[in-house]
């Protein structure tokens, strides 16, 4: 495996994303967890840009970072869960067991998957792979039924969340 400038760039970006992911789990304060997740999603959008999937990268910023995480922050702040003394996770044997089992999971999956793909360094998809025109064409021709089903799902989500949030119906 050669160390190319692209690999170093990717390593820099990916280490920030990985640190942010650890930060989500590690912080006791729920607001800091949420902010680490925002950073993770933002960096992930740039990783999608390096994968030439620009439409999905910008959708990641608009949908995940710009809407879903704002919703998380709203709920955390409205429920006033930011104060760390409100919920302190006790010293649990679960913590150690959880981390140990996850390391085991990483080792198990990683040892089987990663060595096989270390030699695949040339992307095979065409250059305009992530262009909005191509993604739109595929969504409206090959995958139109899941597309319409997802729109019904989003309608159900809207109606459900409004109903849950009302105090009187």
């Amino acid at each position: 495996m050669q160390i190319t400038p692209e690999l170093m760039l990717f390593g820099g970006i990916a280490s920030v994303a990985a640190a942010a992911a650890v930060g989500v789990v590690a912080f006791n304060n729920a607001v800091r967890s949420a902010l680490c997740l925002v950073l993770n999603f933002f960096i992930l959008a740039f990783i999608y840009f390096t994968l030439n999937a620009e439409m999905l990268g910008i959708m990641q910023i608009v949908v995940y970072t710009g809407a879903i995480m704002v919703l998380f922050l709203f709920v955390i702040m409205l429920l006033n869960l930011g104060a760390p003394q409100m919920l302190r996770d006790r010293d649990d044997p679960k913590t150690f067991a959880g981390i140990a089992l996850s390391v085991l999971l990483f080792a198990l999956l990683g040892s089987q998957l990663l060595p096989a793909f270390l030699t695949v360094t040339q992307p095979g998809a065409p250059k305009d792979f992530g262009a909005p025109q191509n993604l739109g064409r595929v969504l409206f021709t090959n995958y139109v039924i899941p597309f319409e089903a997802v729109s019904v799902l989003l309608l159900v989500g809207v109606v459900g969340s409004i109903l849950l949030a009302k105090r009187k119906i």
Partner: protein, 119 residues
């Protein structure tokens, strides 16, 4: 990118996924658990997208005879990511509504204490 092995993207995706698993097991705040589930979904998105980009093997069963042009078969990974994003958005909206309703009722959130359905 050119020059970055596929294993690097997969390693990042796997790391994010296992971090999410740790979070779901360890944390007791349901909102943080929810955020770790979102982290896992994003790791899966990254994996789908990197496989779709690298295309290390020809897609099987999607030949021109079946009416699928090979170029369009490439886009399956991206379409999957679109649907995962949409489903995650709907899930977050409804899930946070449920959490807020529970909080309004019980005035405290601790996932170890929510055991009303325990037999």
């Amino acid at each position: 990118m050119n020059g970055v092995p596929l294993a690097a993207y997969l390693a990042l995706g796997l790391f994010m996924f296992t971090t999410g698993v740790v979070g779901v097991i360890i944390r007791r705040n349901p909102i943080v658990i929810f955020m770790c589930v979102e982290l896992m979904l994003n790791a899966v998105n990254l994996t789908f997208l990197s496989f779709a980009r690298y295309q290390f093997a020809a897609p099987v069963g999607l030949s021109e005879a079946n009416g699928n042009i090979n170029g369009q078969a490439v886009m399956g990974g991206q379409a999957m990511v679109v649907f995962v994003m949409a489903v995650a958005a709907a899930e977050v909206a409804v899930g946070l509504g449920i959490i807020m309703a529970i909080f309004r009722l019980r005035k405290e959130i601790d996932i170890d204490d929510m055991n009303l359905l325990r037999g």
